[in-house]
Symmetry: C2
């Protein structure tokens, strides 16, 4: 439950990869797909989507490929997920557009919308750069501190 789609996963992996290889001017979808063993055509579509929303710049032709259109610090996980998996969130009904069938009786929508916002906040606070492993090398004793602290409002 509450699972990211594989497409979103792929997208995040690709962006992370790009963030970690600033040297390469542009990397092809196939290259990334190969290194991670994911379906090239599927990844291609994901990258196309990310290009469309402006997170990536693409370049066709030989030695073509993709590159980040801005710094990895400025790209949040939220943006990526949003671009790939659509608007989003928690409740079965999308609060914006189409009302779900149990709209009138549903008592849970409003409280969950707030949970929703909190989760969106978490996702927004994490950038591709945060996820990238710039291998500060050496022993990484403890690397499992949460990225975000929570406090009741």
């Amino acid at each position: 439950m509450l699972r990211l789609t594989k497409k979103a996963d792929y997208g995040l992996m690709a962006l992370k990869y790009l963030a970690e290889h600033p040297d390469s001017v542009s990397v092809s979808a196939k290259d990334i797909a190969d290194t991670y063993g994911i379906p090239p055509q599927l990844l291609a579509k994901v990258l196309q989507r990310l290009t469309k929303v402006g997170l990536l710049r693409s370049h066709a032709g030989m030695n073509g490929g993709y590159e980040l259109s801005r710094g990895a610090q400025t790209i949040s996980a939220f943006e990526v997920i949003h671009a790939i998996d659509g608007p989003l969130f928690i409740t079965s009904c999308t609060k914006g557009s189409k009302s779900c069938d149990l709209e009138p009786s549903c008592t849970i929508k409003e409280p969950l919308a707030r949970v929703n916002d909190s989760i969106a906040g978490v996702l927004k606070s994490i950038s591709i750069h945060d996820m990238a492993d710039f291998d500060v090398s050496a022993g990484h004793g403890m690397e499992s501190q949460p990225l975000v602290m929570l406090t009741r409002a």
Copy 2:
């Protein structure tokens, strides 16, 4: 994406309902299903699951039904969702048991596990009681403050 299943929705609605009706000794699945217009048999199963994990107490026979086994303040949204939708989370692979096919190459697992924990934290910090609307009556000017504040660690 990142959507709660309807079952989880139903479960939360039911618990919220029970929290708001402490007077009734026990309420049948059908009663709740009727008031919200959701499939009775499906809700029944959800409630059975919640009973199994100990969040509810059930009572068969006429005038039977369910009641909260503890105070609404002590039941977190996390518990409910976990009980209904299974262990959980974000990444396509469940970190515990079965490894996903791209386990060895996946570079994103560990960072997302932390996001995951943060989200779990949000869910854990919200109780059924928080979601229940005990109608403090009167004008409720602003009721849309987030339930949780976020601060970078």
